[in-house]
């Protein structure tokens, strides 16, 4: 009695918009029936000559009206005896035979044109090219290097990649997902280079996706991931075409999703999330140094606050007297235990970070000032937090943003809370336990069925030249062995 009665199968079928007008023949009346109550649907009927009547049906908001006038209406007015498909000025016109197809074409920005004389319907693609221009990436900014980034137009995104990889072997396979959104997905790979097993896995995963709404590529990734409950991203999301091209060249797959600027790259490893296009632009020593800083800062952001909690709660005897002197001095009059003190400060930091993402840019400065004062000064003066913790939280938070991948940044923040809890209960031993659990988990993870912790486990020593340090490009002769590409060597001489 506490459960709602399950609806019968027939009820559910009625709710499915796709099944609504099944098995109906394609006529003007059935089409009119479909567009009833659609304000932006337009039907134009025109008598060209006494025995030739033409009907146009389209959704005004989805098509390019200028092109409609120039390429269809104009030629029809000056109609010659030739068949309609010969006199209109568009290159892509296809015959439509059933109602389903007609509906699909209509909603993808096509004009349905009926030629009564020949008793046929033509679909002419005239999509509205409504899109923003190509801008620079806001999520993965770099100082030097290509500035362009993807937009919401999938065709434009494919163009950006094709321009960088002018290859006939660069394949683009199109799929559609989402019963309501009908989001286009383009799977890109280089034939003859990418491991075919990866392509098969990706295709099978895409084909099994069954859901109604897909508004971003992360939702597509969620359906393709091997491990749904892991906090680590198993697909790399990027809006940089150069990152996608680098991945394609290494033997990975790129999945472009319609109506979002973020493409998916797979399979990835844990270490790929620390790689920025910057690494390959700088001199190799500087690139390696920056990558090292990123790894160190990830480690610091994960350990500094738990270490503070652990020392202050359990291990006063393990630390140099100088450190203890500072800690004791700063904590001597605080009302909270180290765990709650750190927890409160971290929650405040998270609130400020979230607020800064949502707030308009102009109010961002105010937020920064208020955040700075609240976190930095007021909490210390009010006696809620110690100065050492403020410094620790500050460094830890800034360090966490050095990882180029935003999903990884968020994973890092959540891990931090877990580590903090462990360190407050078990001290440094708890942190060690936490690291063991994370390592075990990372070793078990896969991305497109490929090991996530490669090239460390399984060990591929030849991939280490682009792991923690980035050796000179001339020395990176092989594509990542962990991906098993069909062409192992980057140099054309050794192919």
């Amino acid at each position: 009695m506490f459960w709602k009665k399950r609806k019968s199968g027939s009820d559910r079928k009625q709710n499915d918009p796709n099944k609504e007008v099944e098995n109906t023949t394609l006529t003007l009346d059935t089409l009119k029936n479909i567009v009833v109550n659609m304000d932006d649907a337009e039907i134009i009927e025109r008598q060209i000559n006494p025995d030739h009547k033409v009907t146009l049906l389209y959704i005004r908001t989805l098509i390019n009206q200028e092109r409609l006038n120039d390429e269809i209406i104009e030629p029809l007015i000056h109609h010659s005896p030739a068949p309609i498909h010969e006199c209109i000025n568009v290159c892509k016109a296809s015959k439509v035979n059933d109602l389903d197809e007609a509906q699909r074409q209509l909603m993808e920005g096509a004009i349905l044109l009926s030629d009564r004389s020949e008793d046929q319907w033509l679909a002419i693609k005239l999509e509205n090219p409504l899109s923003r221009s190509i801008e620079s990436s806001e999520t993965e900014t770099i100082l030097f290097g290509p500035k362009d980034s993807f937009s919401e137009q999938i065709e434009q995104n494919v163009t950006l990649i094709r321009r960088r990889l002018p290859l006939t072997t660069l394949k683009t396979e199109k799929f559609t997902v989402g019963s309501l959104t009908r989001t286009p997905i383009v799977l890109m790979y280089i034939e003859g280079l990418t491991n075919p097993e990866l392509i098969t896995i990706a295709k099978s995963k895409i084909l099994t996706i069954d859901y109604d709404l897909f508004l971003d590529s992360s939702q597509v990734a969620a359906f393709m991931e091997d491990h749904v409950h892991s906090i680590f991203p198993q697909f790399q999301q990027t809006d940089r075409p150069d990152s996608c091209v680098y991945a394609l060249g290494a033997g990975k797959l790129t999945i472009l999703v319609g109506n979002t600027p973020f493409a998916l790259i797979a399979p990835i490893t844990f270490f790929d999330l620390f790689i920025s296009p910057d690494d390959y632009i700088h001199r190799w020593l500087i690139g390696s140094f920056l990558r090292g800083v990123r790894f160190v800062s990830f480690f610091l952001s994960l350990t500094m606050i738990p270490l503070y909690v652990a020392i202050n709660t359990h291990h006063y005897q393990m630390f140099p007297l100088q450190v203890l002197f500072v800690l004791l001095e700063s904590r001597s009059k605080l009302p909270f235990t180290p765990f709650w003190e750190a927890f409160l400060m971290l929650i405040i930091i998270e609130i400020i970070i979230e607020a800064s993402l949502r707030m308009p840019t102009k109010t961002g400065q105010t937020l920064g000032v208020i955040g700075g004062i609240v976190i930095g000064q007021a909490s210390v003066e009010a006696g809620f937090a110690s100065k050492v913790l403020i410094v620790t939280v500050g460094i830890s938070t800034i360090a966490s943003f050095l990882v180029p991948n935003y999903l990884m940044v968020k994973a890092n923040r959540l891990l931090l809370f877990a580590f903090m809890l462990l360190s407050s209960i078990l001290g440094i031993f708890g942190m060690a336990l936490g690291f063991i659990i994370v390592l075990v988990h990372l070793n078990g993870l896969t991305s497109l069925k490929q090991p996530y912790f490669a090239p460390i486990a399984p060990l591929h020593m030849s991939d280490w030249n682009d792991l923690f340090i980035r050796v000179p490009l001339q020395w990176i002769k092989r594509r990542p062995v962990s991906l098993y590409p069909l062409q192992k060597w980057r140099s054309s001489r050794r192919r």
Partner: protein, 362 residues
């Protein structure tokens, strides 16, 4: 199913680890603001065979400090009783210095040292210091004048320990015990002289087993630093020759005669003359050579006297006996070695390589 298996396996491993005693579920409350991690204990002889143990509270915090003193029979009793007289729990996990009175050291400190050694809280990097005078009076007198007095004493010892600064002897619990329990080796400890106003480095104390037998100071102490402890002296003033040597590094080569009748100690000294107020013109090579000879004979005389004293006291802080060890023969017994060491003929030879300061001219 595999996930369940993994979780169960992980739980088992965690339980094994936790039950093995690594966890801190049932350990003491160590929240730093609630405890007082003391950094020194001063131990003197008390009344009727008791120990008089003192410390300074609160440690490491800029609050008004006071001295706690107790007369106890046992060291641990003192540790326990301190908690009863102070509102924060006194923890010994950061105990860094142990000041032992000279009188107590002369009677033997092995029970004290063993107690400290077996305490898992107490680090082996605990500095041991012998005190000549009343340390309590010094602390009581200085505590109002100097904030964090205890902390600065620790910083002083740590400073001279790091990289062997070549001025004073600094020995920690581990080093003391290593010397105590090693064959052919006797421990040493630094000696500080205190009165109400001052805390002055006096020299080095020689121990026979765990009992203090003698103290050396001034030039003898400096020579000990060169021969054994630091092999480096930043400054060596020799007032009787009106010369100050600086940046001296020594290389000591010890050779024992096969029948243990004599010992030859060759010391190569490299350094420079940093100050000279004597009558010689040391820019002149002949006069410089004369000065070198004087320094050489002075050092040889002093070293011989020092070693003679060691022979008399039957102590071997230079660990000369270790040179008697050879790969394929049975080691000589400790008592036999000390007997032979006492009768050994000494051949001390210094080789000096001293640079002159160019602006010294007459």
């Amino acid at each position: 199913m595999t996930h369940i298996k993994r979780v169960v396996l992980l739980m088992i491993i965690m339980n094994i680890v936790l039950l093995s005693g690594c966890s801190s579920f049932f350990v003491e409350n160590n929240t730093v603001e609630e405890i007082a991690p003391v950094i020194f204990w001063s131990i003197q002889e008390g009344e009727s065979g008791k120990l008089k143990i003192s410390t300074l509270v609160p440690p490491l915090i800029n609050e008004k400090k006071s001295m706690l003193t107790l007369q106890v029979n046992l060291l641990k009793q003192g540790r326990k009783d301190f908690n009863l007289v102070y509102y924060r729990e006194l923890k010994s996990g950061q105990l860094r210095m142990l000041f032992i009175s000279e009188e107590l050291a002369k009677k033997g400190i092995l029970p004290l040292i063993d107690t400290l050694l077996t305490d898992p809280d107490i680090s082996q990097r605990l500095y041991l210091v012998v005190i000549k005078g009343n340390f309590e009076d010094y602390i009581r007198n200085q505590v109002d004048k100097q904030e964090n007095l205890d902390y600065f004493l620790y910083r002083m010892l740590k400073h001279y320990e790091t990289k062997n600064q070549g001025d004073i002897t600094v020995i920690n619990l581990h080093q003391f015990l290593k010397r105590l329990y090693s064959p052919f080796s006797d421990p040493i400890l630094p000696v500080f002289k205190v009165n109400k106003e001052n805390f002055i480095y006096h020299g080095t104390a020689f121990f026979k087993d765990d009992k203090l037998v003698a103290t050396i100071s001034d030039m003898n102490d400096q020579i000990l630093q060169l021969l054994n402890n630091d092999y480096y002296l930043k400054l060596l003033p020799i007032p009787s020759l009106a010369v100050s040597l600086g940046q001296i590094r020594s290389k000591v080569i010890i050779k024992l005669a096969s029948d243990y009748s004599s010992i030859s100690i060759k010391v190569n000294l490299v350094g420079r003359i940093e100050e000279y107020r004597g009558d010689k013109n040391i820019v002149d090579s002949d006069e410089l050579e004369d000065l070198n000879q004087e320094i050489k004979s002075y050092l040889e005389k002093q070293t011989t006297a020092l070693l003679r004293n060691m022979q008399q006291w039957k102590v071997d802080p230079l660990q000369v006996g270790t040179h008697s060890l050879t790969p394929f023969s049975q080691p000589i017994k400790d008592e036999e070695w000390l007997r032979k060491w006492g009768d050994m003929e000494l051949q001390i030879n210094y080789q000096l390589d001293l640079q002159t300061m160019t602006n010294v001219n007459k």
